[in-house]
């Protein structure tokens, strides 16, 4: 069984401080939904409100169309996986998993049977008699998932459960989490500050900043059509060109920045609408580093400009080239490792290009702090 979760104008305040402000979102049945944001943005607060550990100071939380006000965490059809997993260290793995059945008075044999089923689901068959500390980090992760699934929740809430793992294991667990979600078919609400995790696993993402929702959309939508400068810079890398509008032609906007005149598309406002700009509006144009090419690369591009080479950074699969225009405007361009960049070193006036389709113009606003 799976349930949808609806937040209606939910605010959570501690004294005068609003940890979450007027958040409204409808999470569909069986969806893998992520709240993505920097630490302190209020995402954990929201998760605690959904799980019932705190009550919203305003607004409503509906799970399966039922108002959750006044219903404690042990009575909600949700199950929470804690950031530190909070497994019970003095119990065996099987006892951990069957704890929820034990407190409901289920018999020993039945508990064991259910624990074994769940262990199989998370690929840990035969490990039930071990103590928690005998398992590896990834295995503990799976025990936590199995324990949370034992109560057959309609919604599984995950509070950055992968953050303690090392990179390789994290990448593996992402895939496993997604697979488990598909197998059990229930709604997953995932909290993370790691955009990679959010983008790889989620059906939809809500980007949060300072207690407010900035944008809700599919992974592609959030990455390719950010609605705010914060989203543009928090999700993935981005070059921000500050400038003014010199001309508007339908959805295309001409931006003059640091002596260059660029053509770019107007950013999405959400709900299918686009921002409308007037001449002389102050704007930021965003171009992703992977959308900027060196002049002799074989890509379509209608914007051409030059910048001074500053540094190159080797990241393995790709190289980051750092440049600046007039010493003020920094430009970062990411190219495949296969591209020959030896000619660039110490050269002034590197010729660069990008397509107007890959550039987004947004009104001036705060960027994600780097």
């Amino acid at each position: 069984m799976s349930a949808d979760v609806e937040l209606q104008n939910v605010s959570v305040s501690f004294g005068n401080f609003y940890a979450a402000k007027n958040v409204s979102v409808k999470i569909e049945k069986g969806e893998f939904f992520s709240f993505l944001g920097p630490s302190g943005c209020g995402k954990t607060t929201l998760l605690r409100a959904i799980s019932g550990f705190s009550e919203p100071s305003d607004g409503k939380i509906l799970i399966g169309n039922q108002d959750m006000a006044g219903i404690g965490p042990n009575k909600r059809p949700t199950s929470l996986i804690f950031q530190n997993l909070a497994l019970f260290p003095l119990m065996s793995v099987a006892d951990n998993i069957a704890f929820s059945l034990e407190v409901r008075g289920t018999g020993k044999l039945q508990r064991r049977k259910r624990a074994d089923e769940l262990l199989e689901l998370v690929a840990l068959s035969g490990q039930g008699d071990k103590k928690v500390h005998e398992l590896s980090g990834g295995q503990r992760q799976r025990v936590a998932i199995a324990r949370a699934l034992a109560i057959e929740p309609e919604v599984l809430l995950l509070d950055e459960p992968l953050s303690a793992l090392d990179l390789k294991l994290r990448q593996k667990m992402r895939i496993e989490l997604r697979e488990i979600q598909k197998r059990v078919g229930i709604t997953f609400i995932y909290i993370t500050h790691d955009q990679g995790e959010a983008l790889t696993m989620s059906d939809r993402i809500a980007v949060m900043n300072q207690g407010e929702l900035e944008q809700i959309g599919s992974c592609h939508n959030v990455y390719e059509s950010p609605c705010t400068p914060f989203v543009a810079t928090f999700v993935g890398e981005n070059n921000a060109f500050y400038g003014t509008v010199s001309a508007v032609d339908g959805d295309m906007v001409n931006v003059s920045a640091d002596g260059n005149n660029f053509s770019a598309k107007a950013g999405d406002l959400g709900e299918g609408k686009k921002y409308t700009f007037k001449k002389n509006d102050k704007v930021i144009m965003f171009v992703r580093p992977e959308s900027i090419f060196l002049k002799d690369q074989n890509n379509q591009a209608d914007n051409v400009f030059t910048a001074d080479f500053k540094a190159i950074e080797f990241e393995g699969n790709l190289k980051n080239i750092y440049m600046s225009i007039n010493g003020k405007q920094n430009v970062r361009c990411s190219v495949s490792n296969a591209v020959d960049t030896t000619v660039l070193s110490n050269s002034k006036n590197v010729e660069l290009k990008f397509s107007s389709r890959d550039a987004v113009v947004l009104p001036v606003g705060p960027l994600a702090v780097d």
Binding site: S51, L80, F88, V103, R104, R147, A148, A150, I151
Partner: protein, 303 residues
């Protein structure tokens, strides 16, 4: 040993070794051994000590069990009775103390905000700046026939005549319970404090009731603290002297009062020593029993 010296430097290492050895050998081991030895010696004037009459004897232990040789009783029902009552009541008081302190310790460790917790700890400690004897007398005043509690109850019309709390030993049990609560609360608090709050929330999220969470999560986690608090409270209660002297009814004797009598009033040190050894042995058995029940090692208890 080498490691110890290297880590602390020669000066501090020597000081630590001398200080701890002095404490162990001169203040604990030698007096206890002396007491143990004394308990097997006859009660003879100092002049005769080391003489032909100074031979090891079990007479004091026999006296504890069977009374004086001239008495016709099958066993020393007075002394054994006092001993049995002392131990049973000390066990009972330890249990009451545990039930009483557990919620307080849990509240301070896991529920209260840091500021409230500090305030509570301070207000627990401050009354203990007052000497145990004075606290006992204060309780005696409260519980006296014309005391505060009786007056309040009479004023409220809840009772018609004053209750003799002293004769009923209510005052004694209250006093003994109160005397050592800190030694129960702090080990419990220390143990509970290290419990991850997420564990409690996880249990709640999985549908566990408050009571079940305590039995399955909190108590197993805090068992070393529970064992530690229980052993300390038990030992100190069984070995208390000032509180029973002040608060017990004329008919109630605490075993320590008997020991005191043998030493001070009857001038029979060997018999007092024998009675002390009996009390100490039972206390040690109690510690071992607690360790067995809670499946903790001695190292965990003292933590």
């Amino acid at each position: 040993m080498n490691y110890f010296f290297n880590k602390n430097g020669p000066l501090i290492s020597t000081y630590l070794i001398i200080a701890i050895s002095f404490w162990l050998v001169f203040l604990i081991i030698i007096p206890q051994l002396y007491m143990f030895d004394l308990s097997f010696r006859p009660n003879i004037p100092p002049l005769l000590r080391g003489g032909p009459d100074d031979v090891y004897t079990l007479t004091h232990y026999k006296h504890f069990l069977f009374g004086s040789e001239t008495s016709g009783e099958s066993y020393n029902y007075v002394d054994v009775g006092v001993f049995k009552d002392t131990i049973l009541i000390a066990v009972l008081i330890t249990l009451i103390n545990l039930c009483f302190c557990y919620p307080i310790a849990f509240y301070i460790a896991k529920v209260a905000s840091p500021n409230t917790a500090r305030l509570l700890i301070v207000s627990l400690i401050i009354p203990f700046w007052i000497n145990e004897l004075l606290r006992s007398f204060a309780l005696r005043i409260l519980f006296a026939g014309e005391g505060f509690i009786n007056n309040v109850l009479l004023k409220l019309g809840l009772i018609d005549n004053g209750i003799n709390f002293i004769a009923m030993d209510v005052a004694l049990y209250t006093g003994l319970n109160y005397a050592y609560i800190l030694l129960m609360i702090f080990p419990l608090y220390n143990a509970m404090e290290t419990l991850d709050k997420n564990q409690l929330e996880a249990a709640e999220d999985l549908g566990s009731s408050m009571l079940k969470t305590h039995f399955r999560i909190v108590i197993p986690h805090a068992k070393a603290g529970i064992a530690s608090g229980c052993t300390m409270v038990f030992m100190l209660t069984a070995g208390a002297l000032a509180t029973p002297v002040v608060l017990s009814s004329p008919n109630t004797f605490w075993f320590t009062q008997l020991i005191y009598q043998w030493f001070n009033m009857n001038d029979n040190w060997p018999r007092g020593a024998a009675y002390s050894v009996v009390l100490l042995s039972v206390s040690v058995v109690f510690v071992l029993l607690m360790m067995k029940i809670f499946k903790v090692k001695i190292g965990e208890i003292v933590r």
